[in-house]
């Protein structure tokens, strides 16, 4: 039988990001392969996506904290196909960040058989190239894994998607 398709991230040129003053520190850190999250400099609570005001105390002052890169799957879906990329397999996920309580990321679990992902699966951050020279935080299942045997050569997918046409 065919080996299950491993989930990947969208190819670099299919993903554009734009920044504003609130969000730019997040992306600048990601470009240095660091995962950071903003917390309120007054009340200390984390929030994502980065935004101009703390929703708890309305302060505009922000601290940026470097995170461990650990996460857990809060919920996820399995998507086969994307406009222009009919054969791609994606596992878009909402993840909790244990060292930024209250903040979540919408991201991808990559290099995994979708059948091996469930709510609560522990993850570790990685960084995937997107257009404009930016890097996108994505996540891999934290090893050791009890996955089924992988197709040889499939682990070198990291950041190597096919171009979108």
């Amino acid at each position: 039988m065919s080996t299950p398709a491993l989930a990947t991230a969208l190819p670099a040129d299919a993903v554009k990001i734009v920044t504003d003053p609130s969000t730019e520190p997040f992306w600048r850190a990601a470009r240095e392969r660091r995962l950071v999250a903003p917390s309120c400099a007054d009340c200390g609570r984390f929030r994502l996506p980065p935004s101009p005001f703390c929703p708890h105390c309305q302060s505009a002052a922000v601290d940026w904290t470097e995170l461990s890169g650990r996460a857990t799957v809060y919920t996820f879906t399995v998507v086969r196909g994307f406009p222009g990329l009919p054969d791609i397999t994606l596992v878009p996920a909402v993840v909790d960040l244990p060292d930024a309580p209250g903040a979540r990321l919408v991201t991808n679990v990559i290099d995994v058989d979708p059948a091996d992902v469930s709510i609560g699966t522990p993850l570790t951050v990685d960084f995937h190239p997107v257009s404009g020279g930016w890097l996108l935080p994505v996540f891999r299942v934290t090893g050791p894994r009890k996955t089924r045997p992988r197709r040889s050569g499939s682990c070198e997918r990291r950041g190597r998607g096919r171009p979108a046409r």
Partner: protein, 403 residues
């Protein structure tokens, strides 16, 4: 019979629609043509001249679907309305559909306008199913778009999986919603799908965003629907029996906020919900009734699990019990209302009749209360119409019979 204590100061006097088309079929028509056809039909139904329309109460920012726009000035000039005295739109998207009738009421009660039209025209020039992937990226959407969540169903599949995890909900429940809605469409002349849907077909369908398959998604149709609202006194002098607005509400709490445009809902119960509970509470308080008093529920059905979560939020069953509730057969249409059950989307909804961003649900509510619905609930006195689930505002509307 329920004696509500709702406002009943305005009423829906007319409804009208174009035929419903499949995606791409209206390419040769303009948005103004589609919207105008629906408005003229609604005015004819009400027995008012379009020249007397002096208010426009839109939702979804007066967008015609997700890319195109309805223009008040163009409608006024093209249709020959004499003078526009009120023109406003609820913000957000489909969440405001039912609430737009509340906006019309606001204009009438304030004395700003007297004959107010709500209209939605939909052409899928921007294809809805992939709208998230194709919209221009913004600093905020840069945190969602890269994940490949291409359309609304992809976003809502994430809420659905949490509901299944937290409450043990199964795909059988979603199948029942798709199948029971299809049953209601079979007898509808205008419905896009008029063949029965079987469990086998449902479970054999392709997965689009697991756990959501093809039949969990609403249709990608085109067409327009318009609704004429006026004061209850004036409505009594018009052609149709007035259908009073018993209560209308829109909005939502901070916890829901952007909802699945971001997924910031902090607690599990809110996350795996439709975000409509605050609307439901406000609506029932204003009407002085509970879910038990509703005779027919027109529930915004863009995706089957969101029907289930709205049934919970609107109090037809307990939170988390939506799965067993629908699997008991409680939402199936029968001409006589049975205790403990509620006929849902008697018109075939957006899953099987046509998707016009919530507007067909308002129309069906009106027909049920006039007593002229194809799948009439005998003696229906109160109908619930919902908008959303979507980012704030969500909305709800309770319509009644004049007395």
């Amino acid at each position: 019979m329920a004696r509500d204590t709702g406002v009943r100061d305005v009423a829906i006097a007319g409804i009208g629609a174009t035929p419903y088309y499949k995606r791409g079929e209206t390419a040769g028509q303009s948005i103004t043509r589609l919207a105008g056809e629906a408005i003229l039909a609604a005015c004819a139904d009400a027995g008012v001249s379009v020249t007397d329309v002096d208010g426009l109460a839109f939702y979804s920012l007066a967008r015609a679907g997700y890319g195109e726009q309805m223009e008040a000035g163009e409608l006024v000039e093209t249709l020959g309305m004499r003078e526009l005295k009120f023109s406003a739109a609820l913000t957000g998207g489909g969440g405001g559909s039912a609430g737009a009738i509340g906006l019309a009421r606001a204009a009438i009660v304030a004395g700003d306008a007297s004959v107010v039209v709500t209209v939605m025209a939909l052409q899928q020039q921007t294809r809805l199913g992939t709208v998230v992937a194709t919209k221009a990226v913004t600093p905020v959407s840069s945190f969602v778009q890269p994940s490949g969540l291409a359309g609304p169903g992809h976003l809502m599949s994430l809420l659905t999986r949490r509901h299944m995890y937290q409450y043990g909900t199964t795909r059988d429940a979603f199948a029942e919603i798709a199948i029971s809605t299809r049953r209601n469409a079979l007898s509808r002349p205008k419905a896009r799908y008029r063949e029965p849907l079987t469990r086998e077909q449902y479970f054999a369908a392709r997965m689009i965003a697991d756990p959501l398959c093809l039949y969990d998604f609403c249709l990608e149709t085109e067409g327009a629907v318009a609704i004429v609202t006026t004061s209850i006194e004036r409505a009594r002098d018009l052609r149709q029996p007035p259908v009073p607005v018993v209560a209308a509400a829109h909005g939502g709490t901070r916890e829901w906020g952007r909802a699945f445009s971001w997924f910031g809902m902090p607690d599990d119960e809110t996350f795996a919900s439709s975000g409509n509970k605050p609307i439901a509470d406000r609506l029932y308080a204003r009407a002085g009734i509970t879910a038990k008093d509703i005779d027919v529920a027109l529930i915004y059905d863009h995706f089957t699990p969101m029907v289930l979560m709205q049934l919970e939020d609107y109090g037809f069953c307990e939170k988390g019990e939506g799965g067993p509730f629908v699997l008991s057969g409680a939402i199936r249409y029968t001409p006589e209302r049975k205790p403990g059950s509620i006929a849902v989307n008697t018109h075939g909804g957006q899953l099987s009749e046509a998707y016009v961003i919530g507007a067909t649900h308002i129309m069906e509510g009106v027909e049920q209360l006039r007593g002229t619905a194809v799948n009439q609930v005998a003696g229906a006195e109160l109908a619930l119409v919902t908008g959303g689930p979507s980012a704030i505002p969500n909305s709800g509307l309770i319509l009644g019979r004049d007395r």
